[in-house]
């Protein structure tokens, strides 16, 4: 061996030591985020329009990510407060870990489109969207101070198909303010039905109380679908849970940027109809809890459970937990009322009683039921019956849109008031479908999603 070869060998040995040292460096938690952010950055650059606001926000968010922020903090608030026209972005998504993750990962799309007439200006500042959910961040300016925005109704359309409303579930609302103000910021949470695709442009028409007879406030919201294209993780499950002879099969979980959907099927051979699964929560390997955002009954035997998203936080493990099932014998799914005698003819048990049944208009009756429930554990706004019903002769009638459900704090009883539209001759008793009832299978369950 020559001296030179030996020297090279020494250096190579040291370089191999150096390699070991580099390999020992742990992979940072922010690596996945860096990849996602690169992808989002590419999509943004790929668009024709430049969005300076988004770029500014992106720069601010990089700072936040470098600091390793996980939860909302004053620094985070300052960093994301730059969506034009919207200073309260953080408070609008606070409490929903999926949306917080979306905001932290630059997933907010600036919109800034307004409609203004009759002294009211409504602006859509931005949206947080994916294939299933559209969160609309808005500002409303009123001509006179109020304690809340008097929203009366929203209608959503695919702007390219303006006559066909989108099949959506809308949640909105806020706690009335103590001091009236003229300017409000808020979030409208729109869940898209599973059969519909998110349109490229969504039109939202809004009506306000106190402004009846005037034109709707109408805004067309561009949805940049490239921002969330392919951004979902599908986890096949096929895991069965059985209790008291009833079986449910967890089919699959889908993790979207702003929500997690878990599909459940109930065995057709079950003797009970399952209405609802109670106290659902997803728990991550770090102990973070992703809250339930409700469930949708796709049919009598299929349900989709929705949760806050973990898309951006990417936990290694995700476990679904529930405490009990609301379920009723399939033989007891009908309730019969005699309006003339003002009595219940048939009910699952004696937990429900008829409080009143009175005629409130031509062909309209208002019925009030009271049902015993334990408000400390039931945590459910019972409606008991819903939808079309039949009279003794088999004629089909409809329930009206008006409905209230209230529980007095010191009484374990919920009062439910609803309207029935008896606009043609009918024969007592009337048979209603039971859609929920305080009847429970007490059996905690757990399903490992990943």
């Amino acid at each position: 061996m020559t001296l030179r070869e030996h020297d090279n060998g020494r250096i190579e040995e040291r370089l191999r030591d150096e390699k070991k040292a580099w390999d020992a460096a742990p992979l940072p938690a922010g690596l996945d985020e860096a990849v996602y952010r690169g992808l989002l950055q590419a999509r943004r650059k790929g668009r024709l329009r430049t969005r300076r606001a988004a770029a500014a926000m992106s720069a601010a968010l990089v700072v936040v990510l470098l600091l390793g922020m996980v939860r909302v903090s004053p620094a985070f608030a300052a960093a994301v407060a730059e969506l034009p026209g919207l200073s309260g972005l953080v408070s609008l998504v606070a409490g929903d870990s999926g949306l917080e993750g979306a905001v932290r990962n630059d997933f907010v799309q600036p919109v800034n489109v307004s409609d203004s007439h009759d002294g009211v200006m409504i602006t859509v500042n931005g949206i947080i969207a994916d294939d299933t959910r559209l969160n609309i961040l808005y500002t409303v300016k009123l001509p006179t101070a109020a304690k809340h925005v008097p929203f009366k109704k929203f209608d959503l359309f695919d702007a390219a198909a303006p006559d066909k409303p989108l099949p959506v579930t809308i949640s909105f609302g806020s706690v009335p303010l103590e001091n009236p103000t003229k300017e409000f910021q808020g979030r409208i949470d729109v869940n898209l039905g599973e059969e519909a695709d998110m349109p490229e442009h969504v039109r939202i028409d809004m009506k306000l109380f106190g402004y009846e007879g005037l034109a709707d406030w109408s805004i067309v919201i561009p949805v940049d679908k490239a921002r969330f294209e392919g951004m979902k993780e599908v986890i096949p499950l096929e895991q069965a849970v059985t209790a008291e002879g009833q079986r449910m099969l967890f089919k699959q979980a889908t993790i979207y940027p702003t929500s997690i959907a878990v599909d459940v099927e109930f065995d057709k051979a079950n003797s009970k109809r399952v209405f609802w699964l109670s106290d659902l929560v997803l728990v991550t390997d770090t102990g973070e809890e992703l809250r339930s955002q409700g469930s949708m009954n796709m049919s009598a035997d299929r349900m989709t459970l929705q949760f806050e998203s973990s898309f951006f936080s990417k936990p290694k493990h995700l476990t679904l937990r529930g405490t009990r099932w609301m379920a009723l014998d399939k033989s007891k799914l009908e309730m019969k009322l005699d309006l003339e005698k003002k009595e219940i003819v048939q009910a699952p048990d004696d937990k429900v009683r008829l409080v009143s049944a009175k005629k409130t208009g031509t062909g309209v009756y208002e019925i009030t039921l009271a049902v015993k429930s334990d408000s400390s554990v039931d945590r459910y706004g019972f409606t008991i019956v819903d939808g079309p019903f039949r009279d003794a002769a088999g004629t089909v009638f409809n329930t009206g849109g008006y409905r209230t459900s209230s529980t007095e704090p010191d009484k374990d009883e919920t009062n439910i008031t609803f309207e029935v539209l008896l606009d043609k001759p009918y024969t007592n008793p009337l048979a209603f479908n039971i859609v929920n009832y305080p009847s429970w299978i007490e059996e905690p369950f757990e399903v490992k999603l990943k």
Partner: protein
């Protein structure tokens, strides 16, 4: 080894399917990050480089001629992103460097070298000071253990050129560290 069995995914990614693109990166991201960390030494800078490389790659996917060469191509892009980041850092000057070093986020490198000897740190400084084309070869050949053929494919140059640059790099390193090497030889 480069050239994973990623042909179909790469084709889907080329067609603009970002899910396929992310899946492909899933298999490469660790390598890309380690290359960037060895190049830039700072975790935050390395993450910036990975982000920038991801962005550039997705934007220019259609330029990827052979889908099976996705990882080779990605490594080239991350090296370019690192070179740009390196230049930027030089422009920012030593204050920016110190400022960043002083914050959290470089735990990786810090932990890796908490027990490092002075000699190893000085080798690191020497590699860092090599001309770009030599430094890249050291990272790929020694830290990523690629063959000369694979390094040539990443850098899109003949194997002979890789060998020449590698030789020059080792000569430079030996020139500075050589005395110690001879001393060791004499002792042995």
């Amino acid at each position: 080894m480069l050239g994973l069995d990623t042909n179909e995914q790469a084709k889907a990614a080329k067609a603009g399917n970002s899910e396929a693109f992310l899946r492909l990166l899933e298999g490469s991201k660790e390598r890309l990050y380690r290359i960037a960390l060895a190049y830039l030494h700072q975790e935050a800078d390395a993450l910036d480089a990975v982000q920038e490389a991801t962005c550039r790659a997705f934007q220019s996917l259609r330029k990827l001629k052979e889908p099976s060469h996705f990882e080779t191509w990605m490594v080239r892009i991350v090296l370019n992103a690192c070179a740009d980041e390196y230049k930027k850092r030089r422009r920012r000057g030593p204050e920016a460097w110190l400022e960043k070093t002083g914050t959290a986020g470089i735990a990786g490198a810090a932990i890796a070298f908490s027990d490092a000897s002075d000699t190893r740190v000085s080798l690191r400084q020497l590699v860092d000071g090599l001309p770009r084309e030599q430094k890249e070869i050291i990272i790929l050949k020694y830290y990523q253990q690629l063959t000369v053929t694979e390094v040539a494919a990443v850098l899109e140059c003949p194997e002979g050129t890789v060998k020449t640059r590698l030789h020059k790099a080792l000569v430079t390193l030996r020139g500075v560290l050589g005395e110690e090497g001879i001393h060791d030889f004499a002792r042995a």
